[in-house]
Assembly symmetry: D2
Homo-oligomer: 197 residues x 4
Amino acid sequence: MNRLWPHETSGISDELFVRGKVPMTKEEIRSVSLSKLRLNKKDTFIDIGAGTGSMTIEAGMRITEGKVFAIERKVEGIQLITENAKRFSLENVDIIHGIAPKDIWHLPKMDKVFIGGTGGNIKDIFDWMDEKLVSNGRVVMNFITIENLYKSIMEIKSRNYIDMDVINISVTKGRSISNITMMEGQNPIYIISARKE
Amino acid sequence: MNRLWPHETSGISDELFVRGKVPMTKEEIRSVSLSKLRLNKKDTFIDIGAGTGSMTIEAGMRITEGKVFAIERKVEGIQLITENAKRFSLENVDIIHGIAPKDIWHLPKMDKVFIGGTGGNIKDIFDWMDEKLVSNGRVVMNFITIENLYKSIMEIKSRNYIDMDVINISVTKGRSISNITMMEGQNPIYIISARKE
Amino acid sequence: MNRLWPHETSGISDELFVRGKVPMTKEEIRSVSLSKLRLNKKDTFIDIGAGTGSMTIEAGMRITEGKVFAIERKVEGIQLITENAKRFSLENVDIIHGIAPKDIWHLPKMDKVFIGGTGGNIKDIFDWMDEKLVSNGRVVMNFITIENLYKSIMEIKSRNYIDMDVINISVTKGRSISNITMMEGQNPIYIISARKE
Amino acid sequence: MNRLWPHETSGISDELFVRGKVPMTKEEIRSVSLSKLRLNKKDTFIDIGAGTGSMTIEAGMRITEGKVFAIERKVEGIQLITENAKRFSLENVDIIHGIAPKDIWHLPKMDKVFIGGTGGNIKDIFDWMDEKLVSNGRVVMNFITIENLYKSIMEIKSRNYIDMDVINISVTKGRSISNITMMEGQNPIYIISARKE
C-alpha cells in the first residue's frame, strides 16, 4: 500500500479506498471538487455526507496543519471512513456519526465545506453555514438531482454568497476488452461552488 | 494576488492565470489530469506543449522539492509561462523554447510526463519516453481529436505500459444571466493515463 | 433545392434552412424532439417560440393531413418561418406573430405541443394547455436553463400529466481539419415530454 | 398496442419493442440516426447488425413504398426482428440470418445503409458498399468503441465519400424517485454519416 500511495502524493485512485455499498465520489469528480474548494494547509474543513470518506481523506492529505471533520449518517459509512483514514494514516480527522446540521452545531467555524449528500436538508445546512462558514469561506456541493441543484442555486442567490460557479461533469470511461476500447457513460454530476461574502 | 492565491492552496481559478491567445487547459481538466499524474513532492516532471503554463504552475505547486520542466514551441507561450511562473512565485521550473522530443533529449529522467499538445509527434514522444520516463513513471495526455487519441492508445498498447486509463470529460458551465442559469457546453477532452512497467 | 430535399424524405440538414440570427434547434435535438412528439399525420400541432421554424417545417412534413401552427414573437423569426415554409413547400402551416399563450387562445384544440422558447411564461402556457391540449395529447419542451427545467417539472407534476420523460442530450460535433477530427462540444439541451391524462 | 402506436405515427418508445438480451439502439440514438439517413419513401435500405430490429422497424415505417432488409447473426435477434416486424405490421422487410457482407452480396443496390453492429468487418462492409451502395446513397454508422470509430473514419476518407459527419451523442435520463429526478448517464454513441459520391 505505502509504495503505491506514499503520503506526499496528490491524486488517489478509487481502487485504493476500502469501499462498501455506500456510494463513493469518483476520482474525477473528487479532484474537480477539491480544486473548487481551494484548500489551504491550515483550513478547518467538513465533509457533510462523507460516505466512504474519499473526499475526507484526499482533503485531509492537503490540510496538513488544519482540521478535518466528516459527518455521515450510516453506520457502514462511519466504518469505511474510519478504515480509510487509517489506511492513509490520516490523523487530523474527526468522524461524526449523525445528521447534518443537527449534529454539527457544536463544531468550530469552517473555512471550507463540502456537501456530497444532503438527505434533503439543504435549507437547514445553509442556515448552519450562515453561522459556521467564515467570511471568504467556500462551499462546494455535488448533486445528481435537478431538484437539489435548483434549490441550492436558490439558497445561494438568496444569501450572502458571491462567485457562484455551477458546472455539470460527464465522465465516460474507456473499458478495454481484447483489442477495443468501449466508452461507458457514468452519471453526470452537478458541482456548485460559491464563496461567502 | 497573494491574498487571493496563497502559496499553500490547491486549486487555481482560470482567471488567476495570465492568458493570451494560446489555448489553456481549463480548471476542471487540469485538476483531473493532475490527479491522474499522482504527483509526488520530489518528482521530476515535464509539461510538453505547455501553452500558458497552467499545468506547469499547478504541478509545480505540488512538486515542492522536485524539478519541473515546460516545453513550448510558441514565443507567446514562453512569455506567458514565464509570467505565470513569476506570478505564482514558482522557482523550480525550467522553461524550454522548442519542439518535443527534439529539444528535450538532454533533460534528466522524468517521473511524470504531461502531454497537452503533441503537434503530431506522438510516436517520437513515445520513443523519447522509452528512454526518459522512469520505470513506474506515469504519463498523462489530453486530446481533442479522435486520431491522436487512437494513435496514442495504439502506442501505449504496443509498448511496455500498464494500467492504461482512457476517459472523456465533458464539462458544461452554468452562466448566470439575470435570474437564470444557462448551461453552456465546452469541448470534451479525452484524458489518457498509463504507468510504465 | 428539390433535388437535395425531396418532399417525401425524413431528416433535414441544418444547412437547408434559411437562418438568421434567431437561434435554431439543431438537427439532432430536432429529431429527438420530433420522436418524443409521436406525431400522427392527422395531428393538430403547435410550435411555441418557433424561431426559424425548423421544428415547424419538419413536423409539418409528417403531419400531411393535419394542421400546423407556429407562434413567434420576433419579426425576424416570422420572416424566417415564412421563408422556410415556402422553401419546403409546406402549405398546412399558420404562422402567428405574437406571444404565447396570450395570442393563441383562439386556436383549436391541439394534439401535440412543442415548446422551444418560453420567454418565462411557463405557468401561463401550462394553464393554456389545461384547456387546449387534448386528452392523451403530448407536450415536448426544450430547455437550456436549470430554472425553466425545474419549473416545468413542477408544473407537470402538479397537473394531470403522465409518462413524464426528462432527458439531457449533449452533442459533440467532429470538425475535420486537414487530417484530424476535432470534437467540439455544443450546448446540452434538456428535453421534457409528457402525456396529458 | 394499435391504440398506443398507430401505423401513421413517427417516433416509437423503446418500451413498445419486444426485447431480449440483444442490445437495442435507444430511441434518441435511433431518431438521430434515422434523420441522418435522410430516408425516402421509395428507398431500398439495409440494417446491418439489426439486433432487435428497432431501426429496421422505424425505417420501414418511413419507407412505405420501398424495400427494407435486415441482417443479423444471432438466432435470438432474428426471432426478435420477426416478432417486432409483426407487431408493427411491417410487410416490406426481408430478414436475413447471417453475417455481413458475406451473406448480402446477392441483394440489390442500396440507397441507404445503417450499420449498428460490425462485428469487426468494417473494411469488408466498405468493400461491399463500393459495389452495392448507389451514387448519392448514404451510410450511417453507430459506434461505442474508439477503434471502430477511427477505422471507419479512415475507410470513409480513403474511398469516394463526401459530407462526412461525425458526432457523439451523450444522453442522460432522468429517473423519478418520489419527488426527485435523478439524472442517469447512458453510454455515449458515436454516429458517423456520409454520402457516396
